[in-house]
């Protein structure tokens, strides 16, 4: 599965994924909580994910977010440096 988000859509997607309470879905024995529907309408993504896949997606999304934030922080520091010169 491939997806390329616009940054704001990505942030909202991350918010959606983080809000899913995986823990209670694990302990819920009913059939519906075995899967979760993940949508990103603007990219035509409509997927049914198992809990394992959900956890992997969550890690991937949070890791990507970390990389983006790190990039922001570096930009802030680097431009501060060049202004002092």
């Amino acid at each position: 599965m491939e997806a390329s988000f616009r940054i704001l859509d990505f942030l909202n997607f991350r918010r959606f994924i983080n809000k899913i309470d995986i823990r209670s879905k694990i302990f819920d024995l009913s059939d519906e909580s075995d899967y979760e529907f993940v949508e990103a309408p603007q990219l035509n993504i409509y997927q049914k994910l198992t809990l394992c896949e959900l956890i992997q997606l969550r890690d991937l999304v949070n890791g990507t977010h970390f990389a983006i934030e790190l990039n922001s922080m570096l930009h802030e520091l680097l431009y501060q440096e060049s202004e002092l010169v």
Binding site: N12, E69, E76
Partner: protein, 174 residues
């Protein structure tokens, strides 16, 4: 790599969450005032009903102000889900006591936003929210004045009728 994040939005995530919560809170305040207006009208306090309808509109205006601000700074403004509000009240006085309590909660929430924006060094949001700090002073003052009328006029006899009449004058006093 370009600074994708900062170019798109100047809001830190924590502030954005707080602002969206405030949107929800103002929407709920608007809904609470509507319930109060309905109760007052049902129980014969027509002027108070009109006063609460006006308050409800004002709160919605506040909500839209914050909503527009979030959009302006590049955040995601979330349309609020309003929790069910209390429709029945024990007495005429308790309606105004509930109104004051609601305004106090809003003030405390606004103060938390100021604190957090200072912590995050988001001076734009701090400046923006100062308008609400001042507005809340006025709102609490009005809510307190309404309750004060109960003590000044007294509820015996035709007291409640006179209190209801005096409520209309509150916003024009300030």
């Amino acid at each position: 790599m370009r600074d994708l994040l900062r170019q798109r939005t100047s809001l830190k995530e924590e502030i954005e969450i707080l602002l969206n919560n405030q949107v929800k809170m103002e929407a709920e305040a608007s809904s609470k005032y509507l319930a109060m207006a309905s109760w007052c009208d049902r129980n014969g306090y027509k002027n108070s009903a009109a006063y609460f309808l006006k308050q409800s509109d004002e709160e919605r205006g506040h909500m839209l102000k914050i909503f527009n601000y979030i959009m302006t700074v590049g955040g995601t403004a979330i349309s609020p889900e309003v929790a069910p509000v209390k429709q029945e009240f024990a007495s005429f006085r308790s309606v105004f006591e509930a109104a004051l309590q609601s305004e106090i909660s809003v003030t405390q929430s606004i103060n938390r936003i100021v604190t957090q924006s200072r912590r995050e060094e988001d001076y734009g949001t701090e400046n923006f929210i100062q308008w609400f700090v001042n507005e809340q002073i006025e709102e609490e003052d009005n809510a307190r004045r309404a309750i004060e009328l109960f003590d000044v006029i007294g509820e015996e006899g035709t007291g409640r009728y006179h209190i209801d009449k005096a409520i209309l004058k509150i916003s024009s006093e300030s």
